[in-house]
Structure formats: structure tokens, C-alpha cells
């Protein structure tokens, strides 16, 4: 066993260093003095005893790290040093409905405790803990443990919990994060149905409720979107990734460049009865631009948009909230139909316009969206 170091000295994180020793020695340097000394040492002791490790020197330098962070850093260090990892039963979590609102999905870098801990307070419909692009290569191993323990130990309120995995490290990623029972897995850079089958095969039998969200971010992916959408019953939405796609197309990122691809993705999703979710808006300070783009993609049929800063959540929810006029119209339509049904008529008319089944469906959707946003 050589000397191993895991974690960062950032706020809310800790650095765990282990070296071989003659017996079990735990050394703690805590920002809070002795306020949590016994607590943290007990926590560490328990992990070491659980894994049967007796000869080790472990130094924990904590800078406001919560229990789940300390645990994750120790577990990652032990795996790195000794190649051992103790698998735990997956935690219990209530599955979410297939058509749950997914107007916003907040991406949270998977190795950043300061961002992970409060991720549930912003009220996004989904949280995506990211193991992929926002995590530097040398932190990938540590991130897996952090995301797993965050999922196991923290309460993220009403947000649906997802993890974006690495396409070339699927097995390792799944082995850890499934212990945290995320409600869904985001699969990046999906190009065809084979990509989905590969992951489907790796899912254990007990994971029946876990959903998939393929992210389509290449020209080939867009062309194959219809087959991807139907590749697994787990798929509840197709997500659109603009950055890589723009690169793939060789164009510049603009509405025009991406218009066809967005349309193709919406078509493929809706033809399979699943949701279409748009890409993120990169400029976090440009609320006006965010609103404009969100209105456009909602009009195209998208059901939600990616979020990279909590400030983007309220404007997007706002754009997906029907206006007072829309709500009034929808209520009038439903009322007219109810009255027509009382009279035994299948079709009603309101201010000279015919109301039939598709109109009724649209009105009901508006009212359900409005209900989600507490405007009625």
C-alpha cells in the first residue's frame, strides 16, 4: 500500500490521506476544533471496522465537510489504496411517474460537495448529478463515491434524482451509483439503439424502476433518434445536447443551425410517447435570452430545458406556466364540454369555434401545467 490522497481543500470538502501503519490510527485536523472530533473519528472507525482494516494511518483534514463527504473520501481512498470496496444494498426510493413534469433539470458537478449538498432547495423538477463532462478525469473515481453517498444520505426534497454516467466507464459508474437508487440514468452521447442495449444489459434485475434519458448530441444520434427512443421501456425522455452537436455539424451555435435537429428530436420523442427535453442555455446572466429560447422550445413541443445555474430555474418554470388568459380559455372549454355532455352532445362550441377531442386534450394539459405551477 502506498500513500494515497483523495478529496480537495475546497470549502465543504476534506482531504483524506492514508498510509500503511502498524495499527489503526486516525488523525483529524478539523476546522471546527473539537466540536465534532469524536463524531468524525467514530464515523471513520466504523468504516475501517466494517471493511476489516486494522493496519492503517488515516489523516482527515476537513474544511466544513458533512458526514457523507467524509465517508465518500475515505471509501474512495480505500479503494484506491487497497482495491477494496464494500457494496451495500441499494436504498429504497419511491419511483416517479413516467410523465412527471421535467421542465427543469439542474446539472450538478458530481465531485463538488458545496454544490451537491443544497441541490434540492432550488425546486428544479430534476437534479442530474454529473459524473461526466463536469468532472476532471483524475476525480472520476472520487465523484462516484460522492454521488452514491449523497443519494444515500441526503434529502433532496421533491426533485427527481438522476445521474449522468460516463459512456466509456458504464460498469464502474453503475456499480457505485445504483447503491444510491437514483430515479434515472442519463446516458450521454447516444448514437444508436445498441448504446442503450449495452446499458440495459448491465442493469441488475432489481433495478426495474430506474428510468433512462438518452442524451442525443451528434448528427448520427439525431438521424437515429426514432430507434433510440424505442430502444428500452426505461426511456422516458430524449434530451438534446447542443454543444457537441454544433461541433459535429461544423456550424456555429445559433437557432438556425440547430432548428432541424431540435425538430427531429421532438418528432422522435413524441412519436414514441415520451418527453423531449432541450439543451442548457449557456449564458447564466442573460435571463432575457433564456426566456426567449425557452418560449421558442416550448412552442416546438419540448417539455423542459437543462439548467446550469439555480437562477435559471424560476424563469424556465415561468415560461412553462400558462398565462392567466390561457387558463381562463381552458377552463371555459372544459365547462362548455361538460354542459354539452349533459345535453348528450359529443361536440360543443364556444364563441362560434368547434370544440372537439384534441382541443379538450390541449385544455386539460394547460390546466395540469397550471396546477403544477400553483397559479390556479
Amino acid at each position: 500500500m502506498k500513500k494515497i490522497q483523495v478529496g480537495t481543500d475546497n470549502k465543504n470538502d476534506c482531504v483524506v490521506e492514508i498510509v500503511p501503519g502498524k495499527k489503526r490510527v486516525i488523525h483529524l485536523l478539523s476546522k471546527t476544533g473539537d466540536m465534532f472530533e469524536k463524531h468524525i473519528k467514530d464515523l471513520t472507525q466504523k468504516i475501517l471496522v466494517d471493511q476489516g482494516i486494522k493496519k492503517i494511518h488515516i489523516t482527515i483534514q476537513e474544511n466544513g465537510a458533512l458526514d457523507y463527504v467524509i465517508k465518500s473520501r475515505i471509501e474512495a481512498a480505500l479503494e484506491k489504496a487497497l482495491g477494496i470496496t464494500r457494496m451495500k444494498d441499494a436504498v429504497k426510493r419511491k419511483p416517479t411517474p413516467k410523465n412527471k413534469a421535467r421542465r427543469t433539470r439542474l446539472y450538478v458537478p458530481g465531485n463538488n460537495p458545496r454544490m451537491i449538498t443544497p441541490a434540492g432547495i432550488y425546486g428544479s423538477d430534476c437534479i442530474i448529478f454529473d459524473l461526466e463532462d463536469s468532472v476532471p478525469v483524475h476525480q472520476k473515481d472520487a465523484a462516484r463515491y460522492l454521488v452514491k453517498n449523497a443519494l444515500r444520505d441526503l434529502d433532496f426534497g421533491n426533485s427527481e434524482l438522476w445521474v449522468r454516467i460516463n459512456k466509456d466507464d458504464i460498469e464502474k459508474d453503475l456499480s457505485q451509483i445504483l447503491q444510491g437508487s437514483p430515479q434515472g440514468i442519463c446516458i450521454p452521447k447516444v448514437e444508436n439503439s445498441e448504446d442503450i442495449y449495452t446499458i440495459e444489459k448491465m442493469m441488475p434485475g432489481s433495478s426495474g424502476q430506474i428510468k433512462f434519458m438518452p442524451i442525443i448530441e451528434s448528427a448520427r444520434g439525431i438521424i437515429n433518434a426514432p430507434q433510440i427512443a424505442t430502444a428500452s421501456k426505461r426511456i422516458v425522455a430524449l434530451a438534446f445536447g447542443a454543444e457537441d452537436l454544433t461541433h459535429d455539424l461544423g456550424g456555429e451555435r445559433s437557432w438556425g443551425t440547430l432548428a432541424y435537429s431540435r425538430g427531429a428530436l421532438v418528432l422522435a420523442a413524441k412519436a414514441s410517447g415520451i418527453q423531449a427535453l432541450d439543451t442548457i442555455y449557456p449564458d447564466t446572466r442573460d435571463e432575457r435570452g433564456l426566456r426567449e429560447e425557452t418560449k421558442k422550445i416550448r412552442a416546438m413541443g419540448f417539455d423542459g430545458k437543462g439548467v446550469i445555474h439555480p437562477d435559471q430555474i424560476p424563469p424556465i418554470h415561468d415560461c412553462f406556466t400558462p398565462s392567466t388568459q390561457e387558463i381562463k380559455d381552458a377552463q371555459a372549454i372544459i365547462k362548455a364540454l361538460q354542459e354539452a355532455k349533459k345535453k348528450g352532445l359529443g361536440v360543443a362550441s364556444l364563441e362560434g369555434k368547434m370544440i372537439d377531442e384534441p382541443v379538450e386534450r390541449k385544455a386539460k394539459k394547460i390546466l395540469s401545467l397550471a396546477k403544477q405551477n400553483h397559479t390556479t
Binding site: N12, T32, K38, E62, L66, D155, H374
Partner: protein, 512 residues
């Protein structure tokens, strides 16, 4: 003897007989206050002194005397250290110091405590002096901490008799007329020294900017002044802002601030005539900014803002979002400029701000205030004085006054500071009693005091409201239970309530 917030108090501390806290408005004052000193000054006589030594000598200060200072120059103050140095050199000892507050810049006073020049302190301690006192370097009597309003009350009631008030002023004439808003060392409102100048037996104005008679506007008039002395510099105006003056950038704290504005909106107080007090902490500044945005959007014109004034409040006055500013201390240079130029930016004393035993203080008219905390507890008691390690590090400020007076008192407290949970079963030190605190706003939701049924009814279902015990358990689930700090029996400080009763004591920390 247990007081109303459940703290055990001895019947006597030092020479002081203790009356415990009985409720925010339970104490009625005795009918008369300290009498004002008389003075005489005949034509042809001069108040001007040749040096600080000359002024101290003429003031008649002797061993055992009580002297006061203000902290409007905050961490940029150059007067307190200098005056005490001169006093020490002149061989005067046994001084009782009554500052409105002391800052890290006043660390050299520790030496004077060790040498017996200073043997008593009645005032707020921020930083190294607090830490020194907490280690049990005991003065002859424990330090007495009072709120701004409470300090004004104690002076007016004659519970504190100031022999000499040394008052730093950035502009003065040779007869002592002065204000705080002109000159290179301008600091704005003179809320504290207006009080001291009324009741102190001798008043010395210390300026670095002597101007021809009469200096106007007049914050402290010549009628209360005995001596004037001019020195090279009273302070560094760039350092009068201390603590956080930048708006928070943490998304979690910004969310907290937004929710507070929603709470005020839903609870019905955010309408024309709305009045509030905001502080200078990063989250408090965010509340002020979001309030401003909201009021502009909804076309609401506020009545007044009380402060602790910052540039963020000045912006509200300047675009008509509020009608008046009442200012007892100016927190930044933009506030200083405003009080100098804008007739609707009114200076007030700390008697008017928060003395409970007057014909009514400004806090009584505040719809809302937003205050900080180092800890809060399940009874909504707030601690701003000691850190969770038990060390005395901050003064009370206007905390008790604003909380008692305002209709809705909001405490802005993150659920976790690093891994330290802010909600405790019992706070280490009670600074402000829970019966005057209405809302604890955290990033994980807001807890409303069950005493405020009316607010709960109005906002339930519309805002993230959580039971305080839930929030407490939620935090401890992530951090574990922190070890309790151990104290000795030595009382190093007394936390006085604004009415003169005792809320709590601070004891010497036991070394681990």
C-alpha cells in the same frame, strides 16, 4: 434564579444586583432620568486645547473615572487607542471604558487592561478583545454588553454615568459645533455621540478638521461641549466599512433572500408606507436589493428605512422607492454622501432609534427587520455574541431593539455554516429573546414562531414553511450532534436586555 428565557442567574454579579429578564415589555422605567449637567462659559473664554494631554488634563479625568467613545469610524478609528495611550502616560488608572463598540483595530487596549489602566468595560467587543476576555483575563467587573437602544437607555437612566465623553468629529468649530458628514474623515450619522454628549459630565470634541465658527449642519451643538482639540487624523475613512458590504453570491443565500421578500409580500406588510431596517451582512444586502426590485416592479412606495444605512438603501431613496431614510450609523461612503446631500436622509440618535424608555423609538414603527445570527434555538432565541466555541466575538448592535420593535423580525441564518448547524437545542448565549423573533429564514425553508399564528395562516402553502424542530433534526442528520462547549463558573460578561434586565451571562471557556 431563572429568568424568562430559562437562564440561571446569580442574585449578584460583581457589585451589581441582578434583575432577570421578564419579557420584552415587562419593565416600566422609574419616572425620572439622570439630570443633565449644567455648564458655564463666559464671553471671551476659549474651549480650544493645545493638545490631547491638555484636553485630558482640563477634563478633570482622574483615577477610577468613566470615559466614553463612539465607533462610527469602526475599524478605521485612530482616536480610542491614542486617548487611552495618553491617559496611561499621564498615570491615570482604573478607568471604566464605555465605548459603543470596540473593533480589531483596538487590540492594543489589551495591554492597558493587563496594566490596570482599564479595569472595567461596558460596551460591545468585536474580535481580539472579546477573545481575550473569554479566556478569563477578567476585569474587575464583568463586561456589560448592551444593545444600541439599551446603551442609550442606561446612560439616560443614570445607570452609567459618563465623566468624560471623547467624541471624534470629522468637522468642528472652536466652540464645539460639529457633524459627522463633512471633512476627509467623514463617517455620516452621529447616532452614538449625540447620546453621550447629552449626559456626559464633560464633553471633549476631537477633530482633525477645525473650521471657522459656526460649523453647520449641527449634530452636536456647542451648548453641550466643554473642550475642543484638533489632532492630525481621527481615522481612515476607507476602513469605516467593516464586515461584509458585498451582496452574497451564494445561490442558496440568494434564494433565502428572495423567499424573505415573498414572505413579506404574502404576509401583507409590503404595501405603500412599508418601513424596514436592514443590516450590512451579505444576505441582508440581498434582501434589500430584492425588496427594491419588488417594490419598483409593483410600484410600491415605502415609508422609511432605518439603519445601519448602506448604498443599497440610498439607491431606494434616490429613485423614490422609499420616502425617507432615518440613519443612526452610516455603513459605507455612499451613505455618508447621501446624508450630506439629501434632506430626506435624516440623522437620528440611538435614543430615537431604540431606547425603549422614551416617548417611542423608531423601531416601534418598523414593519420588518432582517437580522443575522450565529445560532438560533428551538425557542427562537438568537445568539450573535458568542461563537459556537463559546468565545465572545461580537456586540449586540441594534439586534434586540429591532427585534422588539418590528412587526416582523426575520433572522437570516444558513442552516449549516460549513459543518456547524446554526439551529441548536439551546443557544450558547441569549442575545435576543425568542418572544421577539418571528421568522428564521434558512436556505432549506423558513420556520415561523408559533406565537405568530397570523403570519403562518397567511403564508402557509405558498412558501417553504417548516417546523423549527424539523429543520434542527434535518441539519443534525447531516452533521451529527456538536459537542457542547464547556465553561467554568467565572462570569466574564453580562448580556443585558434593552430594558436593563439580564438575559444571560458569558462564562470563561474551559480549555480542552
Amino acid at each position: 434564579m431563572k429568568n424568562k428565557v430559562g437562564r440561571d442567574l446569580p442574585p449578584q454579579i460583581g457589585t451589581r444586583k441582578i434583575r432577570g429578564y421578564r419579557g420584552a415589555f415587562a419593565i416600566k422605567p422609574i419616572p425620572t432620568k439622570a439630570s443633565l449637567p449644567t455648564r458655564c462659559m463666559y464671553p471671551g473664554e476659549s474651549k480650544l486645547c493645545s493638545s490631547l494631554d491638555d484636553a485630558i488634563k482640563k477634563s478633570g479625568l482622574c483615577n477610577g473615572g468613566t470615559i466614553s467613545f463612539h465607533h462610527h469610524l469602526r475599524n478605521g478609528d485612530r482616536v480610542i487607542n491614542r486617548v487611552i495611550d495618553r491617559i496611561a502616560k499621564m498615570g491615570i488608572r482604573d478607568i471604566c471604558l464605555v465605548p459603543s463598540a470596540l473593533f480589531p483595530v483596538h487590540k492594543p487596549l489589551i495591554d492597558h487592561i493587563k496594566k490596570g489602566v482599564i479595569t472595567q468595560i461596558q460596551g460591545s467587543l468585536n474580535g481580539p478583545l472579546g477573545a481575550f476576555i473569554s479566556q478569563g483575563k477578567k476585569l474587575e467587573e464583568p463586561v456589560v454588553l448592551r444593545s444600541h437602544g439599551g446603551r442609550a437607555r442606561a446612560i439616560a437612566a443614570g445607570e452609567v454615568t459618563i465623566d468624560v465623553a471623547f467624541i471624534a468629529a470629522p468637522i468642528a468649530d472652536d466652540y464645539g459645533n460639529c457633524n459627522g458628514s463633512l471633512g476627509d474623515s467623514a463617517f455620516g450619522a452621529m447616532g452614538f455621540p449625540i447620546v453621550d454628549s447629552l449626559y456626559a459630565h464633560t464633553v471633549v470634541i476631537i477633530t482633525d478638521n477645525l473650521q471657522p465658527y459656526p460649523v453647520t449642519p449641527i449634530s452636536i451643538p456647542q451648548t453641550r461641549v466643554d473642550y475642543v482639540v484638533c489632532i492630525d487624523s481621527i481615522g481612515d475613512p476607507q476602513r469605516i466599512k467593516t464586515g461584509t458590504m458585498e451582496i452574497t453570491r451564494s445561490p442558496a443565500r440568494l434564494l433565502m433572500a428572495k423567499n424573505v421578500v415573498r414572505l413579506l409580500d404574502e404576509s401583507g406588510v409590503l404595501r405603500d408606507g412599508f418601513s424596514f431596517q436592514a443590516g450590512a451582512g451579505g444576505t441582508s444586502l440581498a434582501v434589500t436589493k430584492f425588496l427594491h426590485d419588488h417594490m419598483k416592479k409593483k410600484n410600491i412606495t415605502g415609508g422609511f428605512a432605518m439603519g445601519g444605512i448602506t448604498g443599497y438603501v440610498v439607491n431606494m431613496l434616490e429613485d423614490g422607492s422609499i420616502n425617507r431614510i432615518l440613519d443612526a450609523q452610516s455603513f459605507d461612503l455612499s451613505a455618508v454622501e447621501s446624508i450630506r446631500n439629501n434632506p430626506f436622509h435624516q440623522e437620528v440618535s440611538h435614543i430615537m432609534f431604540g431606547d425603549p424608555h422614551t416617548g417611542g423609538c423608531v423601531v416601534n414603527r418598523q414593519d420588518a427587520c432582517f437580522l443575522g445570527a450565529t445560532e438560533v434555538d428551538l425557542d427562537f432565541n438568537v445568539n450573535v455574541n458568542t461563537h459556537s466555541d463559546g468565545v465572545l466575538l461580537h456586540g449586540i448592535g441594534g439586534h434586540q431593539d429591532a427585534a422588539a420593535g418590528s412587526d416582523i423580525t426575520v433572522i437570516l441564518a444558513p442552516l449549516l455554516r460549513g459543518r456547524v448547524p446554526v439551529i441548536r437545542e439551546k443557544v450558547t448565549t441569549v442575545t435576543t429573546p425568542g418572544d421577539t423573533v418571528d421568522v428564521i429564514a434558512t436556505e432549506y425553508g423558513m420556520a415561523i414562531n408559533p406565537l405568530r399564528d397570523d403570519i403562518i395562516k397567511r403564508v402557509k402553502g405558498k412558501l417553504p414553511i417548516r417546523d423549527i424542530t424539523d429543520l434542527y433534526k434535518f441539519a443534525q442528520g447531516m452533521t451529527g450532534t456538536p459537542r457542547k462547549v464547556e465553561f467554568t463558573d467565572d462570569i466574564v460578561a453580562v448580556i443585558e436586555y434593552r430594558d436593563g434586565t439580564v438575559l444571560d451571562t458569558v462564562r470563561k471557556v474551559k480549555k480542552g
